[in-house]
Symmetry: C2
């Protein structure tokens, strides 16, 4: 029997609370199935060219997801144990994003319209520029956001908004949620007269590389680990025709607490930190994983330990992550100089025999070993005690790129020293947070969710209006008669789209 004739492997859905499996809910895709999916998606590119239709589609998808909220959150909770409250919020975020991109399509600034009429004096022809979709976008679902960063999440919403068909690689932690979401989005497509194949879903480990290497794949959106993301990034770069790879890989999200902040706001900072690093059981890419605290002011340490000790044990997304978390805490705790302030470990609780507790480690800046500078997924954070500005700088100088960097200041620290500290953090991150916490990534035009490598493999954001820019490329039309131009570039501007015409803003 040839392997070609083998039955595709079944995909099961597993409850992280109990380890119980059900299914199969889908089958794994080999290279052939991926090829079929990408070709089917690519064939919908012309149908997606209608911007009004796309906006309708995004709204219809949001409506259908909202209408199916109970089923979606129940399905996702059974696969992720994230809880109904969190998943209800995540679904609201997901449908908000879809509608925000529909609004963006009507507004039109993402088209980057520029018109320069011919200028014979400068020897310049008539030039008109706009942005067009790149082609099929491959989206990799994230383990930790079964809705907002998965099948109908930000990468998919922004790619569809851009006019790009999408093939999603489902995450094995929530295949049933993926299937349900995909079905609803595909139904929304046909309901507005678009082909269902504007979105395709594939499962299985082998599907990932096959998607990235497919000749018709034009760009990739990825959220996941440094190891997996870098391997796929390398594949995208090594293609005969390389493609953009927008990957969010890993981030420590450092926090700096000044001495005066610790002296004046210890309780507030400790409680805030505990809430932030244990939120979602520490399974956020923006979890504060390294906190620089002044050695002279132990108040923050005490407060965060007291607050985090109250956090209930909770299951992690899957057994592999659970083991990685427990092993990660163990390994870090074993380094010379590391003090265990709160032991993160396994703990069976009612209905969740596979739960874990939050952990807090502390170490002097001078004893900070390299592995403590690596992200550890789950509810653990590392407090690094610095004695002076030189020790603080010595730690900052060792940090890689991050999604966020946070500074906790005293109420009266608003002068040049505080400004210099904030400025020092700018090269380390894409988002700077003052007196707040990095968890909670607002969907807003001013959001930047992306930072220097390994936080992100490009300079883009995966959250907020400008995320659409990742899936577009500019094209200029030279000396082109009105009748042959796209309507967006006609001299008349009936839709009132924002354009730069001969150097002046129009609308």
């Amino acid at each position: 029997m040839h392997t070609d004739d083998a039955q595709p492997a079944p995909v099961h859905s597993t409850d992280p609370r109990t380890g119980a499996s059900r299914g199969p809910v889908a089958v794994e895709a080999g290279a052939d199935a991926v090829d079929t999916a990408v070709r089917a998606a690519a064939a919908t590119l012309p149908a997606l060219a209608d911007r009004t239709r796309r906006a309708e589609f995004l709204r219809a998808a949001a409506d259908r997801l909202d209408a199916a909220a109970d089923g979606i959150t129940a399905t996702a909770d059974a696969e992720t144990a994230l809880g109904t409250a969190r998943l209800t919020g995540e679904l609201a975020r997901t449908t908000y994003q879809l509608r925000a991109f529909a609004d963006q399509l009507a507004e039109g600034s993402h088209l980057g319209l520029v018109i320069d009429h011919a200028d014979p004096a400068l020897g310049r022809p008539d030039l008109r520029r706009m942005k067009l979709p790149l082609g099929v976008v491959a989206v990799f679902s994230a383990s930790n956001f079964p809705l907002a960063f998965s099948v109908a999440g930000g990468d998919t919403a922004s790619a569809l908004a851009a006019g790009c068909p999408v093939v999603v690689k489902a995450h094995p932690d929530h295949p049933a949620t993926g299937e349900l979401t995909a079905r609803l989005v595909r139904e929304a497509a046909t309901a507005v007269g678009l082909p269902a194949d504007v979105l395709r879903l594939v499962h299985g480990f082998e599907a990932g590389p096959a998607l990235v290497r497919h000749p018709l794949t034009a760009a990739v959106g990825f959220t996941g680990s440094v190891r997996g993301g870098r391997a796929l990034y390398d594949m995208a770069a090594a293609r005969p025709r390389p493609i953009p790879f927008h990957g969010e890989l890993g981030s420590l999200n450092p926090v700096v607490v000044t001495e005066r902040a610790a002296a004046t706001r210890a309780e507030e900072i400790g409680a805030g930190l505990a809430g932030s690093f244990t939120l979602g059981n520490g399974q956020f890419c923006v979890k504060p994983g390294l906190v620089l605290v002044p050695a002279a002011e132990p108040g923050v340490e005490k407060a965060v330990v007291a607050a985090a000790a109250q956090a209930p044990a909770a299951p992690m997304l899957d057994p592999r992550m659970r083991e990685a978390y427990l092993e990660g805490v163990r390994e870090r705790a074993a380094h010379p100089g590391v003090e265990v302030l709160l032991a993160g470990g396994a703990e069976a609780v009612e209905g969740a025999p596979l739960a874990v507790r939050a952990g807090i480690l502390a170490v002097a800046a001078g004893e900070l070993a390299e592995p403590l500078l690596e992200e550890c997924f789950g509810p653990v954070t590392v407090l690094v005690r610095y004695r002076d500005a030189a020790e603080l700088e010595s730690v900052l100088a060792r940090l890689d790129g991050n999604l966020t960097a946070t500074v906790q200041l005293a109420a009266d620290e608003r002068g040049p020293e505080a400004a210099a500290l904030l400025q020092r953090l700018v090269p380390l991150a894409g988002r700077l947070v003052v007196d707040g916490w990095p968890t909670g990534v607002a969907v807003a035009p001013a959001m930047q969710h992306g930072g220097p490598y390994p936080a992100t493999t490009s300079t883009s954001t995966s959250v907020g209006a400008t995320a659409i820019e990742r899936w577009l490329r500019p094209v200029s039309y030279q000396n082109t008669p009105q009748a042959l131009l796209p309507p967006e570039l006609h001299d008349a501007n009936p839709l009132g789209l924002p354009r730069l015409v001969d150097g002046r803003r129009e609308a």
Copy 2:
């Protein structure tokens, strides 16, 4: 004797008309010299943060280059044989670009300023986004533009405008021009109070990879060949911390002549094509290298041969290119089915014993061998005769990405068929030209000089105002007191910068 102690190899300047060398005009940089240059440049990043100062600097550099025009064009002509007229025009383009980016700095839209005030109802914090420089940019000079795409060319001008220090790898075809240009730009820097090291120049083959691999290099701008560009792109992607590589590698720049265009505008099209493919001795990245002509209408063929036969023989930029051109034409002519309409060959002319003549090859669409679809640098173009729409499509389907694609229509071809033909070319190129020629790349906001791979390794443009976007990354400030924000993001907007505030355009 250690290799460390070896004298750096001298760099000579060679006259392509005669092959005569003079110098040394510089020395080659090994890894150590590149390290020194990159570190020196990186140290100027804080000084470049002042946007007003940067604009002053760009204008001062333009003024100094203009003032030294005679010396620069003479030096460049002696190294490139491009002629004083062309080089005078290229210098004007170069200084125009520098001043255009200075204007851009004052206008400020490149900063991408967005402010979203806190919205407690949405649970949204105050977020403020702006774009910041990436860091040191490595720029590779192009062989064929000793001024406009070299030391003070578009990549350098846009990177400096973005606030990025620049280390330029000089092109071995014009090292003396590079040295002279760099000296003037560095003098302009010190004249406005900036460190001279905002621009550093390095020479030698080894310097290229060392620059791309240097840990402090944050991005690369490249214009050159597919082979060299791809090797450097691969290095940039393989770094522990990958960096953006904006490379312009190669382009055939296809032209489609419709049957009715050939029937009604044969003389005009033939003359235009001859002018375009022989301009600059065919040493342009936008040279039309493949022209689809209707087999049924031979008028264009006759006209282009008649016009190109009049083009004077001229020297190529260097002996290696000259040999590659002569060999390239020979090889292509030897393919079955290829008809030599004009033999491109070597021809000694007065004062230029190493000159070459223009060549024109023709082949039926059905006999088009793969090597004829590869770019051949120099004054040669390939006419491909198509008999019907299916043959035309069969050729278009074989094309890679291009900087440009051109269509020649009859005056009355403005209907759906012409629109469909233009639409068919869009996936193939970054700039679509109607009834004109791709040579001549206007420096204008609506320009897109960049297309699908291998034309460009990213979706960016290297010409025009938006070229600055390549060297910036967005950063968001969350919940940051006014006193700690950059002035561009203060609530007051004294400079009148264009911003999107709570969804509305300001200024």
